[in-house]
């Protein structure tokens, strides 16, 4: 898997079952976003095969809800949240559809599901990072997808907001039987909720239950250099060695 001039990773095999909460972890450039783009049908693997819901990935798959890393929404975006969430259901339709009740109600139900009803008429440009992520989640959920792809939703959140968002995603995953793939740098805010980890580093991929993947032995094999996994008193993981130092994570 990779770009014409660069293989990002190879020899990766993994399966994700319906209703699982899976974290995709690894340093920058490890191919996490590329994996999502392949699942969305925006990019083809250079070799091997990839099946989504038993078929080949295709663009515009309405069974997938996608939360990308946004670059286009900032403090200059003078649009209310409900209008963005509505796009999740109406954005692909023809015609003006200025005030379809069905669209509005779907948007409101989705905002309620993420606990953001009170933000419906707030301006996107004025929201905090955590609030924005909840709105994006609502937009992804509005078409009742069976799979959620969340790209770095925690990257601009402090630990407390990260945990809140992870709890929300976990509840939605369980209550709606959605399959959730979440890309993150740091495993710690997620570790309580995960069914599976896809760990990417050094052009290789390790995958399995967190307790099997997040061990000194397995990560040493992945990175090819000695890596140690330590636990602190609150069961937080510290990964020493490999590329998992803070410096390698900095954007």
């Amino acid at each position: 898997m990779g770009y014409p001039d660069k293989v990002v990773w190879r020899d990766a095999t993994f399966e994700v079952e319906q209703g699982e909460f899976v974290a995709v972890i690894g340093p920058n450039g490890a191919g996490k976003t590329t994996l999502f783009r392949m699942l969305l049908g925006l990019r083809r693997p250079q070799g091997g095969s990839l099946a989504v819901f038993g078929g080949s990935p295709h663009r515009g798959n309405s069974r997938i809800g996608y939360v990308p890393q946004r670059h286009t929404i900032d403090h200059e975006t003078h649009i209310e949240c409900e209008s963005l969430v509505r796009m999740g259901v109406s954005g692909t339709r023809w015609g003006p559809g200025f005030s379809l009740r069905e669209e509005r109600e779907a948007a409101r139900a989705s905002l309620e599901a993420v606990g953001a009803s009170e933000l419906a008429h707030e301006c996107l440009g004025t929201l905090s990072g955590g609030e924005l992520q909840r709105i994006f989640l609502a937009e992804a959920l509005v078409g009742n997808p069976e799979m959620l792809l969340l790209d770095e939703p925690l990257s601009n959140l402090d630990l407390r907001r990260s945990r809140e968002l992870v709890d929300l995603v976990d509840r939605l995953t369980r209550s709606r039987r959605v399959t959730t793939l979440l890309v993150a740098h740091d495993i710690n805010p997620l570790i309580q909720c995960l069914d599976k980890v896809i760990y990417m580093a050094n052009g290789r991929v390790a995958t399995g239950a967190p307790e099997n993947v997040l061990t000194s032995k397995s990560l040493t094999a992945l990175y090819g250099v000695p890596v140690e996994v330590l636990r602190d008193s609150r069961n937080n993981l510290v990964i020493v060695g490999g590329e998992e130092s803070r410096g390698a994570e900095a954007e």
Partner: protein, 304 residues
């Protein structure tokens, strides 16, 4: 030309003149199109591309004058080609200020050359640059109407898709929206709208109709459909009031463009000042927060 404070009488008086009727008709059509397209210009942050397309249009209009055909055809050919070129370079191209600025200057220079080569009426350059709405003929009004109806029809058809693609590029792409085609379509609609607007307001003042009303509207409302409505109303008001004042004030010796742009500018300034003072907040519907908001389900705080 006597002005009374009975505006209806004044308007009836003004309406007797064919050139004013034509000016009002063309101005109204253009304000409609500019107000709608302008909202997407603001949303897609293509203001500089809009400005540049106006300049591309100038050389097109000047070339048409040189060839002895109506400038609007030259405007259309040049702006659509320019818009197509920008669209093919991708959406990011519309924010490449340096490249666009370089091409813009060259196009303006070409326009100057064409105007120099043309030995006839020197006012042609002036009316391209600053607009000459009271010189619009019946045939031009009809042409403007036809082109604008086409733009509006396409716009209505793709409104939601274009909004999605403009507001949320990555998700729209994943949802299967044809991003390149939508970007191309928008740029062509923009080019036609600019060509129509140049007749009213001129190349250099295009911003006042294509951007100012929409830039004001997004400060007043957060709903796209309402913003489009406010943007169109503002453009209409600026054109109508501008024409009206230019007809009556100072013996009608000052150009309508000046008044149209000034009114749009004044409205914009008022709204921005009101925004800074927090006066626009009353317009925004916010859900009253009755109690500290807890998302449904188990309290997320407990994990801390």
């Amino acid at each position: 030309m006597s002005f009374s404070w009975n505006l209806l009488t004044d308007f009836r008086f003004l309406w007797q003149f064919e050139f004013m009727r034509n000016a009002f008709e063309a101005g109204t059509i253009v304000a409609f199109v500019a107000g709608i397209i302008g909202y997407f210009v603001v949303l897609r942050r293509s203001a500089f591309a809009t400005h540049a397309l106006g300049h591309v249009g100038f050389s097109g209009g000047a070339a048409a004058v040189l060839l002895g055909v109506n400038p609007v055809y030259g405007l259309l050919v040049f702006t659509i080609s320019g818009a197509g070129g920008m669209a093919l370079l991708g959406r990011k191209a519309s924010s490449r200020d340096l490249e666009i600025g370089t091409v813009l200057a060259f196009m303006l220079a070409l326009g100057v050359l064409f105007i120099q080569l043309y030995k006839g009426y020197a006012g042609a350059a002036y009316s391209l640059l600053f607009g000459d709405i009271i010189a619009i003929s019946d045939a031009e009004v009809l042409f403007t109407l036809g082109a604008s109806v086409a733009v509006l029809a396409v716009m209505l058809l793709v409104y939601r898709r274009l909004l999605f693609a403009s507001l949320d590029e990555d998700v729209a792409e994943a949802k299967g929206m044809p991003m390149v085609a939508l970007g191309f379509l928008f740029m062509v609609l923009l080019a036609v709208a600019i060509s129509m607007a140049v007749q009213v307001i001129g190349v250099l003042l295009i911003f006042a109709l294509m951007v100012t009303p929409a830039a004001m509207a997004v400060r007043l409302t957060r709903r796209p459909a309402t913003a489009v409505l406010v943007s169109v109303s503002t453009a209409l008001f600026a054109v109508w009031a501008g024409l009206f004042i230019s007809f009556f004030a100072f013996g009608g010796q000052f150009p309508a463009s000046f008044f149209i742009v000034s009114i749009a500018f004044a409205l914009y300034v008022v709204v921005r000042v009101a925004d800074v003072l927090g006066l626009t907040r009353v317009l925004h519907r916010t859900t009253p927060v009755v109690k500290p908001v807890a998302p449904p389900g188990p309290n997320p705080q407990e994990s801390m």
